[in-house]
Symmetry: none
Subunit: 207 residues, 4 copies
DNA sequence: CATGAATGAGCATTCATTCAT
DNA sequence: CATGAATGAATGCTCATTCAT
């Protein structure tokens, strides 16, 4: 506000830096907590317990658990969208697009989960990842597929069903991939692409 | 309650029958409650509220919410397994098996969910069905597929990946199906079968 | 429910008795707490701290602080109304009615507050009693006065103003009375009656 | 910090003026907030939100919510006392004094509350105004009455009771007046004066 | 065995107050 | 002095679970 002060004071911004760091700390903690406990089970207290902050401080940054969740989802979407977009732009044809998209997806998945995942043996067996990023990516991919069909670059099949099928497959395959050490993005991508392309080929065209 | 039985049955077994009836009532209520509220959101109180029993009585039958959940899952599995088994036994070949299994799966899904579903618009978008039965069936199907590959009736591909892919696809497709009114088991089954069979055909054989 | 058992079991009802006792304990504690701290300042925890019950137990009896408050107010009203009614029915004329009503009011006040009042030296100086009973009685009295004017037994003056004036006077006078030891109901009643009757006599009649 | 500047200081006083302005801003905001929310419900945050200052700044001027409240009360008293004093000095006799004092009181009340009042329908029915000024005036008036009796210009009645009666009446009548639009100071004053004078006339003299 | 009141840990959230900047 | 982020105690309330009846 006072410019004179600004000139003298490069140390101004310490507060801003702390603020950003705290926000990041909360998001980081929330990411872990959501991954380990799931959205419903996770509590705001679990999240702040994962930081060095006090309970009230959480509310200086987010108004609720829901809001952190959305911030995280936005973040995931923001980072994944351009990747998927690039895949689409560079793709020669539908087959190429599928291949690129799947590689992008599995790479993203590995990147996001390299930190630490849910303990291998779940309490709730095999209920799907409801982490914010997963959901964001989920939606992104679904749109991509529906869009491809709408634009006619993909065969004219039931778009909703196809998107669901691909998404479900990729999601579950992703989980399987992540359980291998190291997660073989290559193998999973190749498998998924072949499966989808073969699958689409076998599908009945819509009237 | 069942008068005929009462007539035949001096009073012996009255307790047993009451016990069984109570247990059944709890399971029935739990099924509805899980379907409507989801596992996490549902409370033990929600469940007993769905019966005519007192809260404490719940604990004479189950030690916790988790335990009812598992009982329900076991129940689902117990009822689905023979159906799947029959599909396998009657199947002429792999293609036929897949078709039958998928039809069985989607029919089971519809049957389980026809009662009353979660309000259409979820709070958390597209987090998977976490009803006990779905999970049970999930595992059943996975075993079926892995078994088929192991027995050589299915092409020699990565079993884990294939099972995951099929399961994920079927699960998500099932969700999409249930959102159509009425749920078209036929369409979904046909779609899924074509997709899987095409997909398998496109898959690289393992060395 | 089982009548036979009922016959055998005079000890049945232990639970009911405990329940009633607890309810009473909460009301009793709430009465003290509201009197000492005021409605706003008082917390549910303050109330249960005044009993031997656990925090959650409060909610088996009342849904909120507001609800205890109302129960207390209802209670006060229920006990005061017949007294006031009797005063009215037995009164020979308006003067007699006022006298009786005021005596009834001050007696009720003494009875309610004989237990223990707010510490003489308040933190918030002289903000009026917002105890449930006081409010209940307040409303009762106001209605009595307005009714008397409406029925023509009282001089035709501004009813709203008169009720307010009487109420305010009685309230404050009551507080003053309670600070004398022992509270002289007689003196206060006589003073108040004379004041009101003289006051009414001096009032301008409405057109 | 700049003491030197202060000593030399053409610009001297800038700080003081800012300080005074801030203090005033807080008091002004507090007045509104207390009037709208009531003392208990109002929070320090509500108050500073009504200024352009930062939360911490509040504590450079007042140590707590309680302290602002008292400052406001002092302020009210400081402004009302001379008015009441003037009424006394100009009064020809006791009757005149009462009349003038009540007019002064109701005018002051209207002036203080003309800005914006609490929403008409209170949550808690008819708990008295707990604004600081009202309390200050309350005390001022009480002293005035007790003083008058002590000085013998008023009839020799129970001073404590008379003060209480008048105060209570005026307070409640004031509330009733404020609920009329526009608040008729004239009518209320006339009513109150007639009531009090008549009332006093009817009172038993002390031995 | 059924009952349902009691329990108390736990949760989300608010708020007065402090203190580094 | 002003600032506003951090703090953590306190609050209302829920809920799984226990246990006397």
């Amino acid at each position: 506000m006072t410019e004179a002060a600004d000139l003298l004071a490069p140390q101004e911004g310490k507060r801003e830096r702390a603020k950003a760091a705290n926000r990041e700390a909360i998001l980081e903690a929330a990411k872990k907590v959501f991954a380990q406990l799931g959205y419903e089970t996770a509590t705001v207290r679990d999240i702040i317990r994962g930081t060095e902050l006090a309970s009230g401080t959480f509310y200086n940054y987010f108004r609720s658990k829901e809001e952190v969740f959305e911030a995280l989802a936005d973040d995931g979407a923001r980072r994944f969208r351009p990747i998927l977009r690039a895949a689409r732009d560079q793709a020669a044809d539908f087959e190429d697009y599928i291949r690129r998209a799947l590689i992008a997806y599995f790479m993203f998945l590995r990147a996001e989960n390299q930190a630490e995942g849910r303990p291998v043996s779940e309490r709730r067996p095999h209920v799907h990842a409801d982490t914010p990023q997963a959901i964001a990516v989920y939606n992104e991919v679904r749109e991509g597929i529906e869009d491809a069909i709408a634009r006619g670059v993909a065969p004219n099949v039931d778009a909703d069903y196809l998107a669901s099928a691909c998404i479900g497959m990729a999601q579950e395959l992703g989980a399987a991939m992540l359980e291998r050490t190291p997660p073989d993005v290559e193998g999973a991508s190749a498998f998924a692409a072949a499966f989808v392309l073969g699958g689409v080929a076998g599908l009945p065209r819509k009237s």
